[in-house]
Symmetry: C2
Subunit: 325 residues, 2 copies
């Protein structure tokens, strides 16, 4: 359905731009497919030219723009938040999934399934105003550290993807995050970290309610799911929020499958890309997490001509804090 | 709660810019309040300076950016759509509210209340894919004509508000539509008519469902309300979609009250404005429609220092097709 990628040799200018703007991408078919796509959609008068206003690119977050191991970073936030709230909730000592989290028994939490995770999310994400929640996330982002790398979570972002965001923007693309993560968790830091403004973030959400409290208007976060922006929810969220079909989509799991299908099925040139985590030394090597896997999407990649990044092979640098080779 | 508007005299440059960019606004306190607000939030180093990325302005649509008489234009669309579908639904001849619509008895439709209107909306807005619906709206917008002015509905837009949109954008504002109307009805034409791209439109919506139909990914519109972006829903929609609090809000009815409260309650300079329809000759004079009224918001305007436009007094031109005085 997507146009097959032409094996055309890149011009010197394109090679130079790709080199300058994508230095952490090794030369090879993966990088070439990106630069080639950008050339095709930006060539005025060309058969696959895309008008400036239609250059919409959507990026999954967990595992695509930043790491998601050993647990989803927002899950780490929920655990820390639960611990902070525990003194006010002595009953949690005897109640699952709270007791398991407080004991550090993550296997028991995950074994509790979706219901346990939903309970955990509600207790740690609802019950405040939106302004209060924003400050709570801000404080956590500023203080929490990744267990393996001992750095703030916002440093565990992928340098090649930062370059890709900049490269696309330099070519007139508007970049959006489309994440299964909570939209109000993401918005606190994505602008600073990815250069993507809050209004270009699509995510999962809980219900909020407008109230006047002592003459002050607030939005209160209720313990009720509003929207799950994952799997078949991603095209729905994209349509709801962006209102036009993207021309490029970037993901790393089956949760991104429908987003890639929706993006790449259309007239003209479209681009789909999956990040495959293959580097156990510099990052992690896996095809599944307790909350998702890369399986169907990887098979579909072949059928649809999507690009698959082999992190170990294709990226000469993973994180910004690594020295460039 | 909002800062009171200073009675400061505008500089010659500001007067000139206001004059050049807001020619359809008569001189007076209304126009002055707009130009004064823009000066305060764009004065670098000033006490009410607002950073470029926070210059978010939100506009209601029906009655604020275009007319809403004799019926909401989207309601006119629903009626025309029902008539187009009627041959496939002989049972509608004996069933309300459909029979009333087909007989042209709008009083009976409105008397049926919210339930009748919801039924009408679902039958005329659901049951297609998003792409099909977009084409249906496009065709209607291109062919339907306003009963009094005998012009396409998209010409019944307010020239002074077009100038205001341009004036704010010239001063670094990002402009959004925040409408009780259907988001997918609006997105088809707002970019061409207001210069506002689809991703800057917040509105009401029905549920959509992602499906693969014969290998083609589609979003099907289901007969189920997803979100009502009116009254207390407007701040919720703004927060969900934009993710930051606007600094300026423009409306014309009590349905915009909470949006104005949410916008103007904050530190620094904020701006709220209500359009009061007072011109029965050039447009319409009213404070209530069957679907809403301007009552509480008008009282709150005084208490909160919001600007109230008196159309007859403040606008020397209503529609773009009128000759400029």
């Amino acid at each position: 359905m997507t146009a097959s990628i032409s094996p055309a040799v890149l011009t010197q200018g394109e090679q130079a731009q790709g080199q300058a703007l994508l230095p952490s991408w090794n030369d090879g078919p993966t990088k070439r497919s990106i630069v080639d796509f950008v050339r095709r959609v930006t060539t005025t008068g060309g058969p696959q030219f895309v008008k400036l206003e239609d250059r919409i690119a959507v990026f999954d977050n967990d595992g695509t723009l930043w790491s998601e191991q050993p647990v989803l970073f927002q899950f780490a936030f929920a655990i820390d938040r639960l611990k902070a709230l525990a003194p006010q909730h002595p009953e949690w000592k005897d109640k699952q999934p709270f007791a398991a989290v407080l004991d550090g028994d993550m296997k028991a939490v995950v074994a509790g399934g979706e219901y346990a995770i939903a309970e955990l999310v509600m207790v740690t994400h609802a019950g405040t105003t939106t302004d209060q929640f924003s400050r709570i996330v801000q404080d956590w982002i500023a203080s929490a550290r990744h267990p393996r790398f001992d750095r703030p979570y916002t440093e565990l972002i992928f340098q090649p993807m930062l370059e890709l965001l900049a490269y696309l923007r330099a070519n007139g693309f508007k970049t959006f995050v489309v994440s299964g993560g909570g939209v109000e968790f993401l918005r606190v830091w994505v602008e600073r970290v990815y250069g993507i403004p809050p209004e270009q973030v699509v995510g999962s959400s809980i219900v909020t309610k407008f109230e006047m409290l002592a003459g002050v208007p607030v939005l209160t976060r209720l313990p009720k799911v509003n929207f799950i922006d994952d799997n078949a929810g991603k095209p729905v969220g994209i349509n709801m929020h962006i209102g036009r079909r993207p021309v490029a989509a970037f993901g790393n799991s089956d949760g991104d499958l429908q987003m890639l299908q929706w993006t790449t099925d259309n007239t003209g040139s479209r681009f789909g890309l999956l990040v495959h985590h293959t580097d156990s030394v510099r990052e992690y090597a896996y095809t599944a997490t307790p909350l998702g896997k890369l399986d169907v999407a990887l098979m579909e990649a072949k059928a649809n001509g999507w690009t698959v990044v082999d992190m170990k092979r294709d990226w000469n640098r993973i994180y910004p804090f690594e020295a460039n080779e």
